[in-house]
């Protein structure tokens, strides 16, 4: 029923026009803040993700980074250099107390500290954007969810697929006849990196290397998988009920207890299976998700997306004008709205990709929601569910077992 309603709505709303229109709001967003005072934002955490957030906020109209908070002096310094006129703080209490003018807070600290930071920021009345996974335990996720339900401000989670224009466009096709019946799902994230944060100060090693600490990490399945699992939740409207997995150390045999390579299978409510693999030992294929349907497969790679049609699938009118790329024996239709025109104008990355990062669109969506221009693409409740799945998948891969996924009531 849901599928039928969505299909009707898809056809009613867009007809043949979706292809041309879906990307426009993101490219034309700068004007939405015209005439409004900029939002004064405090960014908590100035590590790699925090710096990426600072970089995107600099590009977004309506955002003004007024304060940066990090307990590490060097990181704080590097964060302050990525802002203009921001005030630095070593503690959240100081930042929230001394900068009463702050309108909003971005939480980009290590996952195990999200709850403390996010709850305090929400309860202070600020708008909050919290990175994902939401927390390292379901209990902490629920605490953030509880705070968000009585929040005065707009609270969003950093599951970026939901605000990504390519993913939004592809979801429209997925929920139409273009893909039709879901056959299976697959996703991966491959990088070659140690996940070690270097520190000259031995006493800080454990704190900085929380991703490798068995007591608090959610591992590859939690830290990376959560973002990708959520894409499938959003597309299908369903959640996994069971997960099995295993993991091993294939490259980084440095005494760590956390696997550098994992594989797991998530079984959804309707029996469909999602195969997920992640590694710190190989880069091939990078990060992507694939949904296989009876009429077509959709491959999503965050800045890019393609549809691979089955030979017996009906041809649709818009395909005539679509941009195409060859992948060995398969031809992919580029899923960028107005790709040909935008490519000619030099507005696409490498000629076929989104002009901005997924993080940019996620922050843009949050700012738009604060301005009242749009709904929050990823509310905290969905982040609780995705994180719960990520935590369960980590447990399954860490222990090499099959477990039922207990979906929290949000």
């Amino acid at each position: 029923m849901t599928q039928d309603l969505d299909r009707r709505r898809f056809i009613t709303q867009v007809g043949g026009g979706l292809v041309a229109s879906a990307i426009v709001p993101s490219l034309a967003s700068a004007s939405s803040w015209a005439g409004r005072a900029p939002l004064r934002i405090g960014v908590v955490g100035a590590g790699r993700q925090g710096r990426a957030i600072l970089g995107e906020l600099t590009k977004l109209a309506g955002a003004e980074v007024s304060a940066i908070c990090d307990s590490d002096e060097r990181r704080l310094g590097s964060g302050l250099r990525r802002a203009s006129g921001a005030e630095g703080f070593a503690s959240l209490n100081d930042m929230l107390g001394k900068r009463s003018d702050l309108d909003a807070v971005v939480v980009a600290t290590p996952t195990p500290t999200h709850k403390a930071v996010a709850v305090q920021a929400i309860e202070s009345g600020r708008h909050v954007y919290c990175e994902a996974p939401l927390a390292h335990t379901v209990e902490d996720c629920l605490a953030i969810n509880s705070a968000a339900r009585s929040a005065k401000g707009v609270v969003a989670a950093g599951l970026q697929g939901r605000s990504n224009p390519v993913y939004d466009l592809a979801r429209g096709f997925f929920r139409s006849d273009s893909v039709r019946d879901l056959v299976s799902m697959r996703a991966q994230r491959h990088e070659k990196t140690s996940w070690v944060s270097p520190s000259r100060d031995a006493s800080r090693y454990k704190e900085l290397n929380w991703k490798l600490d068995p007591d608090v990490t959610t591992g590859l399945a939690g830290e990376w998988g959560t973002h990708q699992f959520d894409v499938f939740h959003w597309y299908t409207g369903r959640y996994p009920v069971r997960v099995s997995g295993h993991g091993s150390i294939r490259l980084h045999d440095d005494g760590r207890k956390i696997h550098d390579t994992i594989a797991c299978t998530l079984i959804f409510q309707d029996g469909a299976a999602l195969q997920y693999g992640a590694t710190l030992a190989n880069t091939y294929g990078g990060k992507h998700e694939v949904l296989f349907g009876a009429n077509a497969a959709i491959k999503l790679a965050w800045s890019h997306g393609w549809m691979f049609k089955e030979p017996d699938a009906p041809t649709q009118g818009w395909e005539v004008y679509a941009n195409r790329q060859q992948f060995h024996n398969d031809e992919g239709i580029t899923l960028i709205a107005g790709a040909t025109k935008l490519s000619e104008q030099g507005k696409l990355k490498d000629g076929v990709g989104l002009p901005n990062s997924s993080l940019y669109y996620a922050l843009e969506n949050w700012l738009g929601a604060i301005a009242g221009d749009s709904e929050v693409a990823c509310p905290i409740g969905e982040a609780v569910r995705a994180t719960a799945v990520g935590i369960a998948a980590h447990k399954a891969t860490a222990q090499g077992i099959t477990i039922d996924v207990e979906m929290p009531d949000v």
């Binding site: 790699r48 060097r74 302050l80 070690v196 270097p198 901005n356």
Partner: protein
């Protein structure tokens, strides 16, 4: 920046120390990636691309780091008497070195410059100018990467971007300096580096001119190759380009920077005697 960066860290400690040093190298390379993402003119999502899109119609606010970099570029533009100018982006595009151009040679001088708004820390472009940091981005990224290594206590390392700008930390184990050869040709001379950087500019194979002279608005070269040695890779990167365009040292080029140019196959002093690179050969450079 469209080139390969490598980090080599001399590590003589335990396996755990080696793992730590690998992590330091990863962090340095990640930071170089951040600089690329911010400064690339090929990436429509970069901050520089945003300035190029919007800077002609209104001042674009920028962060402390990029503003400082652009202020440094402006100082070098003045000191080089106009032989270095990062507002050559529209010229680079018109000559086909960047996407969106026709590739047709043009004599039109597209460089009109940029204005740095000190009070609002913003950048404004004039007269169709666009920013292209290709002559300085590698050096800036390598300087940032060096800071990561030094912060982590690294005492011996070599970092390079595309082989044309090289940063040396300390010296290799058992030696008193890193020896870096200038160019691929047999018999090419070397420079000895210890806590220094070297940048090298040369003509592309086939004699294709790819370095823009902002003064004439045309790709040019005044020598076959140029090299500059100094503490900051950002400075050596920029000044090697200046030397390639001018063929000699400008009067205001800092004495802290040493340099040389190659003309008719011979490496020679480039101007003031105070700034000559000490070149050595395979025989004279251990």
């Amino acid at each position: 920046m469209g080139t390969r960066f490598e980090v080599v860290i001399a590590c003589v400690g335990s396996a755990s120390h080696a793992a730590q040093m690998r992590a330091v190298g990863e962090e340095a390379l990640a930071l170089i990636g951040e600089w690329h993402d911010r400064l690339s003119t090929f990436d429509p999502g970069s901050l520089v691309s945003k300035i190029n899109r919007e800077g002609a119609s209104l001042p674009v606010p920028v962060d402390d780091e990029l503003f400082g970099l652009l202020a440094m570029c402006e100082r070098i533009r003045v000191d080089s008497e106009g032989a270095f100018d990062v507002s050559v982006g529209s010229l680079m595009r018109a000559h086909g070195f960047r996407p969106g151009g026709t590739g047709e040679p043009t004599s039109e001088r597209g460089v009109r410059g940029l204005t740095l708004g000190l009070s609002a820390q913003s950048v404004e472009l004039r007269g169709g100018a666009e920013i292209d940091l290709g002559a300085i981005a590698k050096g800036a990224a390598l300087d940032a990467a060096r800071e990561i290594l030094l912060d982590a206590g690294v005492e011996s390392a070599l970092i390079h971007g595309g082989g044309s700008t090289i940063v040396a930390i300390g010296a290799p184990p058992g030696a008193d300096a890193w020896r870096v050869r200038l160019g691929d040709e047999p018999g090419a001379p070397s420079v000895r580096l210890r806590d220094q950087s070297v940048s090298y500019s040369s003509a592309r194979p086939g004699g294709i001119e790819h370095v823009m002279d902002p003064r004439s608005g045309r790709p040019t070269r005044a020598c076959e190759a140029s090299a500059c040695v100094g503490e900051s890779a950002l400075e050596t990167d920029a000044w090697a380009t200046v030397l390639f365009v001018r063929g000699e040292r400008p009067m205001r080029m800092s004495e802290r920077l040493t340099s040389a140019v190659r003309i008719d196959g011979v490496w020679a002093l480039a101007g003031a005697a105070c700034g000559r690179i000490e070149l050595c050969t395979k025989e004279t450079c251990p």
